[in-house]
């Protein structure tokens, strides 16, 4: 039952945040009730699709009226090195007649047949949604029947939008993999250094900047779930020796249950930031050796880390003169990867604010140490306040997701997308250098000076100064006398933590 599944998710013992709660709070679940008229963010279906759709050679069929898929397809920048089937959009596009006449299940069954015949994919994922759950379509039964009839796995994903948030949908997608996919295929090339990576989405293809590091150590990625995954690799993921889990809250239950069921140990790691990338390699090697891999792997890993870190730091150092003292506002809902913050501070960037909405108490403790001034921590900021902070020039750049993009831009403030819509790969050693480069390019772009320039007339259109006179004085373009924001910018009133505090990270 879906209800039991959801209760199970909320009871996740592997989740630190959950363990910090008492029994009563745990029972209430992780998702806060939404406020009508003041809610933002995606639904459970959205979350489920995000986790599964980058399985590139599978067809993803959304059993719904138009909007669930029609308004949202081909909108994420995950990279595929093979099939493009996942980018095509399949939906039953239910009409009023289908709903009234109760033809949903029949149409779904037919749709599976059409896809199987036209594309012959290794598997079809079928997603339920609010309307099809409400009218009681039994997608599990349809999937089972269609699977038997057409001889391919048809995987039901039961995460209708109204059951909760995007995050819950992520977890329910993990359950679908566990119930129907992982363990259904036995690869014939199992080795002692095979690993899984969970929660890697390969945005902008960034995993391709990390995978060669593993390969250089002789470590094979059995399944990267879901980024650039092949269905059969996911189905054989139970044969891996170690699991690394990124983006921790999304797939933690999957990681834990894979450990329970197949004895695959897992660790939480990240490829964002220099030291996190090194740690990820180090932990992987350590766990593999503890499970019987050749112990020489440990030394080879350290050698690779030393070599790659040295190169990355040398490349980053080149940006120090350009970024020293620049003030960054992080608005991400909760930074997990402290090594990004550490690396930014290492080259002289100041963090003048960070949101901690999704952070655990432990995270918050770490932020306090890192930032020195806990006033730079905020739960979440209303768009109006965020705009005010940026318009008052209290930062040089904001790093955030697309949702708050226009707050920065309308405040004429540099902004860098660090969320799923971004266009640049930030993972691994090269990715960290890329991030620093993008911050420098964003801040230094001459466009900021241009757009902040006041028009030479007032609100009524009357000229504020005689252009001829101004030209004579030779001060065209100087804002220093007029604009208090500009002055504030130069006074550096928001001196924060410096680079030296970061040694231990």
């Amino acid at each position: 039952m879906l209800k039991d599944k959801i209760a199970d998710m909320f009871n996740e013992p592997g989740c630190e945040k959950n363990q910090a709660k008492d029994a009563k709070a745990r029972k209430k679940g992780c998702s806060k009730p939404l406020t009508p008229g003041a809610a933002a963010g995606g639904c459970a279906f959205d979350g489920a699709k995000i986790v599964l759709q980058p399985v590139t050679d599978a067809a993803h069929l959304i059993h719904a009226p138009l909007a669930c898929e029609g308004n949202s397809w081909d909108n994420r920048g995950a990279g595929s090195s093979g099939s493009d089937l996942w980018r095509r959009s399949f939906t039953t596009d239910l009409t009023e007649l289908d709903i009234v006449m109760g033809q949903g299940e029949r149409k779904l069954y037919k749709a599976v047949r059409e896809i199987a015949q036209a594309f012959n994919p290794p598997a079809i994922f079928v997603y339920s949604t609010c309307v099809t759950a409400l009218i009681g379509d039994d997608i599990e039964a349809v999937c089972k029947a269609a699977s038997a009839k057409y001889g391919l796995p048809v995987v039901p994903v039961n995460a209708p939008g109204f059951v909760g948030s995007k995050n819950l949908g992520n977890k329910l997608a993990g359950e679908a993999l566990l119930d129907h996919v992982i363990g259904t295929h036995e690869p014939d090339d199992v080795g002692p250094t095979d690993i899984n990576i969970l929660g890697e989405f390969n945005l902008s293809g960034e995993f391709w900047a990390v995978k060669p590091l593993f390969e250089a150590l002789g470590i094979r990625i059995r399944a990267s779930i879901p980024g650039d995954a092949r269905y059969l690799d996911v189905a054989g993921a139970h044969t891996a020796r170690v699991t690394m889990m990124e983006c921790s809250t999304a797939l933690i239950t999957l990681a834990r249950k894979m450990e329970e069921r197949w004895g695959i140990p897992f660790f939480e790691g990240s490829f964002y930031g220099i030291s996190d990338t090194s740690d990820a390699l180090r932990q992987t090697a350590r766990l593999l050796v503890s499970r019987g891999a050749d112990p020489s792997l440990l030394n080879r890993t350290e050698a690779l880390i030393a070599q790659e870190e040295a190169i990355a730091w040398a490349r980053m150092e080149a940006y120090r003169p350009r970024l020293q003292g620049k003030r960054v506002l992080l608005n991400t809902g909760g930074v997990k990867s402290w090594s990004v913050v550490a690396a930014l501070q290492e080259i002289g960037i100041e963090i003048v604010g960070t949101s901690v909405k999704k952070s655990t108490d432990e995270d918050k403790e770490r932020i306090k140490q890192l930032l020195k001034d806990e006033h730079h921590m905020f739960e979440s900021m209303a768009p109006r306040d965020l705009y005010a902070m940026l318009a008052a020039n209290k930062a040089d750049i904001m790093l955030s997701g697309g949702r708050t993009q226009f707050i920065a831009l309308k405040a004429k403030m540099p902004w860098l997308d660090i969320n799923q819509e971004r266009h640049f790969p930030y993972a691994g050693y090269d990715g960290m250098v890329e991030l620093v480069k993008r911050i420098a390019l964003a801040i230094e772009n001459p466009v900021w000076e241009t757009v902040r320039e006041d028009a030479p007339w007032d609100r009524e259109g009357n000229l504020t100064e005689s252009p001829l006179l101004q030209a004579g004085k030779g001060v065209i373009g100087s804002r220093e006398e007029a604009d208090p924001h500009f002055l504030a910018h130069h006074r550096k009133k928001f001196a924060g933590a410096g680079a030296d505090d970061m040694a231990e990270c």
């Binding site: 008229g37 959205d46 009226p65 609010c130």
Partner: protein
Amino acid sequence: MTAVIPRTKAASLNPLKSSQPLGAALAYLGVDGAMPLFHGSQGCTSFALVLLVRHFKEAIPLQTTAMDEVATVLGGADHLEEAILNLKTRTKPSLIGVCTTALVETRGEDFAADLSAIRRRNADALAGTEVVLAQTPDFEGAMEEGWTKAVTSMVDALVPPNPERMVSLTQVNILPGWHHTVADIEHLRDLVEAFGLEPIILPDISGSLDGTVPERWVPTAYGGTLVPDIRAMGRSVHTIALAEHVRAPAALLEARAGVPFTVFESLSGLKAVDRFVALLARLSGRPVPARLRRQRSQLQDALLDGHFHFGGQKIALAAEPDLLFTLASFFAGLGAEIALAVTTTGSSPILRKVPAREVLVGDLGDFEARAAGCDLLVTHSHGRQASERLGIPLMRVGFPVFDRLGSQHRLTVGYQGARNLIFEAANIFQANRREPTPQSLNPFRDRRPTSEDTHDSHAQTAAR
């Protein structure tokens, strides 16, 4: 009459449609200080919001009643009320435009009665904010229908009867379609004002989604039609509806307040613009300004220069009915052949007039499967996959256009808009021209025992 072929398959592959509530939300966004509200689960809003942002590159005000499992079972009137009151307190909108979704419509409630009860109960709290309703389930219609319903709902809620037929002789109602861009609406305003007439444009996205940088943070739509202006529409001398899908609100204005109306099915061709300009001249009693006469002459010249590139070109078109008709007429009017016409929904009477053998109600999967051998694909950005796989250039039109900048500033109506379209398409043809090769001109090329490649004939048909 053009045959309209309905959809028969079960799996829709690569949808052409955007959803009906999205079309309604877009219409509400053209009203100053408005806040569209989706009555559904939060995902309904989130998906529409992200898509609108990807197209307009603007922050889009759009809220949700956040229906959860319990509300879905027990009924959503409480959520609707709470959402409206929260929006009123937080953003002080001039108008809240409620759009229902498939979720709440499948459950089925009397939304109109719920809303009037909510309005009655909270008369004081909601003072200064109009609340209007468009019933727009995702399981029927698409952008066009949603736009129609939202515009009609605003006219219905705000325009009082005008029994005495009090008329302001220079005031004209303009009802654009959803496919008209910011640039189109700005241009239409200029055209109408050139005759000394005062237009009330509903909705007017040229003020709200035109990409400006305001001096403070504004949580609602800013710019757009003023609510008091909507109330005054009953006193206009005439209504000009600029697409078949806004005939309904135009007709309602006539029934309600006696405002006569004229529908223009397209404003992207010389004859249609002539009729439009002539109507303005008649309504105002003024001669056509020299500037417009000059623009007409420029269009004539563009037609002459451009037609070389269009003759015999095979065009594959996929769009909502009115946009499909406009573009098909445009291309056919320059000698191109509409080899394929795909649309979203089959009920619009305009489909019968599309200059193609048939119009298929379908998706971009149907489009891709039938477009091989065409010279140009014309649809929204999601046509990029078909374009890549078929190797045929894509001209991006309609919604969504998320992988090119400036679609809202593309002018497509009037003499100047028609001229722009000619240049845009002709330039794509020229950029993709296939030069003749000895193989492509060899008279025996098609007489091989296995003639597997139909693309060979391309070089012949390509316009010089």
